[in-house]
Amino acid sequence: MTEIFGFPVAVILGQLTLGLVNGSFYALLSLGLAVIFGLMGVVNFAHGAFYALGAFAALLGLQYFGINYWAALLLAPLVVGVLGIVVEKSLLRRLYGLDPLYGLLLTFGVALVIEGSLHQFFGASGQSYPVPNALGGVINLGFMILPIYRAWVIAVSIAVCFSTWFVIERTRLGATLRAARENAPLLQAFGVNVPLLFAATYGGGVALAALAGVLSAPVILVTSQMGSSLVIVVFAVVVIGGMGSILGSIVSGLVLGIIEGFTKVIYPEASNIVVFVIMAIVLIVRPAGLFGRE
């Protein structure tokens, strides 16, 4: 068999594919964070909790209302997004104009409350969400067996990431959003409802987290803590991409997923720190992140 650096090509291709799957989750989650930070200046520590809420919304919807996976893909982000708007309107709003640290502390508190409540009601051992029938089964790629569901995750994530990027960077709505970040009072003087814009932005960012939650529900066990370790990695991804850079978060999410995948083969013990090592290097060499503006 052909080998590259002592590893069979099949192994490399396999890890590349799996890295892409994980990278898709990172990209989707860091995208939401980047949107919220880039447009509102809020460091949203509750992102992992909203991700878990998305998964729980899908699970409970299925158990109690018979809502299937496809409907949950739309409904769960919608419900969680509305909850996000409530959080923004009732809590986050009061902290604008203060040091960003306050927003970070508040959202961290919100995360603890959400995760604690989920834990209280649903226990620690978690629950399974079935893979939808249409996406069950596997594809034989020759070098590996890929579950169809994982391929679907890559497709959805890339589609959502790039349409979000397009809306924010290339449309009039996006331009208005970015203007609100630059100079909110001026935009308000033009008759734009800026508070509503901020609420919608937070709701949208949170909905992206919930969507990632629904996507991951069939893959991993749905538990209250499913987002708490992930959110730290995703923050590192955002820092590497450049705080607030939409494209940066997407690209670095995908690339870091792949790098992490290879680490799992070369030196598995380091696979949970490789992202942070890269973050440290990026911060030294290019403090604003790979895609950030100095």
């Binding site: 890890q15 590996m144 893959v219 991993i220």
Partner: protein, 401 residues
């Protein structure tokens, strides 16, 4: 001023966190302390269900012993050794503590065992797996009650190797428990003529296991040994199933609880081999206990929770027999009496502190085989206690070889 307010606030929060359900014991009461994980990974395995089991045992015993009221103190160790140890010490110094149950998590249990030795208070380690508790970390006051890594390895690994699963690949949680479990299993595998083909050490709490599983598959081994626990176990088995690996390799759980199987569902968990110290559907006694427990908690008991019930009764019976709560006398009684209840038949506590009792090698049923709720296991082999826990190793000074 501001600082003072902050300090008071912090103190208030800490008291709430640490003082979970600590009832005040009057002098003369028999005080049973329960220090376990009430909010973390093991909260469903032991947690509040274990507290419930303990209360059931006290009620069944009559609520008093030697004419003294039996009271319980409960604390969450949050999987932190220092919290477990300091709670133990605090109760010993201030609350007239007589015995402690608990300690899911080997690290916390080792810390608590040290306090038990220093304060001379019996400690029933329930839920922790590390066999070191009755070897290099043994004390005269530790009783390791439900299972340990040796028994798990002897139970599952022996059965699998003898049924033809000769080559093993391990997916190992990268911390003390995972490596202890892998070492114990590979020793058994090799002693029975099998071999270890490879192993991958997975960081604790990984969110994705597919890369590691692909390596396992690439190894060509017949058996996939899962030397991990809790969520890591569930997520790795789920992914193994999704990638079709369970069709080619035999999945083996070196530690799984019935709550894990319940959350995974039989569709995913079917065919899995595991070893347990208790199953609710073994006989009329276990079923009766299971039903009572289920009525209170809406779940069948895990082996840890059943062990809590049994350990509480065992302790109280010993106190009654010697007519005192004096730790040395109670320990002496504990080490010479047979344990017979719904958890153990003819069980006994060996000099090194291991409670020797039968273990059960199980296979998870398929959804078709399961006839009623929580009908999850079929019994492959009932293993005698001596065979499961193995001979005294000599690592514990209390029990020379």
């Amino acid at each position: 001023m501001k600082l003072k307010t902050l300090a008071i606030g912090l103190a208030a929060v800490l008291t709430t966190v640490l003082g979970t359900g600590a009832a005040l014991a009057a002098a003369g009461d028999v005080v049973i302390g329960d220090i376990d994980d009430l909010s973390g990974t093991y909260a469903d395995v032991a947690g509040t269900g274990a507290v419930e089991a303990e209360k059931m045992a006290i009620a069944d015993f009559g609520g008093t012993v030697l004419g003294r009221k039996i009271v319980t103190l409960v604390a969450d160790h949050q999987n932190k050794p220092d919290i477990g140890a300091s709670k133990f010490r605090e109760w010993a110094d201030q609350n007239g503590l007589n015995v402690v149950l608990g300690g899911s998590n080997t690290g916390v249990s080792i810390a608590m065992a040290k306090v038990a030795a220093a304060k001379k208070i019996p400690f029933f380690a329930l839920g922790a797996g590390g066999a070191s508790l009755t070897n290099e970390d043994c004390t005269a006051y530790t009783v390791h009650y439900v299972y340990d890594t040796t028994a798990l390895a002897n139970g599952t690994a022996t059965t699998i190797v003898k049924s033809g699963g000769k080559s093993w690949f391990y997916l190992t949680a990268d911390y003390a428990f995972g490596t202890q479990l892998q070492n114990a299993a590979s020793k058994v595998v090799e002693a029975n003529g099998g071999k270890t083909v490879g192993a991958v050490r997975v960081p604790l709490g990984a969110s994705d296991f597919s890369s590691f599983l692909l390596q396992a598959q690439g190894s060509g081994a017949q058996v996939l040994g899962l030397a991990n626990a809790g969520e890591d176990f569930s997520n790795s088995l789920k992914a193994a199933n999704e990638f079709g690996i369970t069709k080619k390799m035999k999945p083996v759980a070196l530690l799984a609880f019935i709550t894990n199987i319940n959350s995974l569902g039989l569709q995913t968990a079917q065919g899995l081999y595991l070893t347990t110290g208790f199953y609710w559907d073994l006989n009329a006694d276990t079923r009766a206990f299971g039903k009572r427990f289920f009525d209170k908690t809406k779940k069948q008991p895990t082996m840890d929770q059943a062990g809590y019930y049994s350990a509480t009764l065992t302790y109280l019976k010993a106190v009654k027999a010697v007519g005192t709560t004096d730790s040395d006398k109670v320990m002496a009684e504990l080490k010479k009496t047979k344990i017979n209840d719904m958890f153990a038949k003819g069980g006994y506590i060996r000099a090194d502190g291991v409670m020797i009792h039968d273990m059960y090698v199980m296979q998870v049923k398929s959804p078709q085989e399961s006839k009623y709720p929580w009908d999850y296991y079929k019994l492959l082999k009932q293993m005698k206690g001596e065979e499961a826990f193995g001979p005294i190793t000599g690592a514990c000074p209390l029990a020379p070889k």
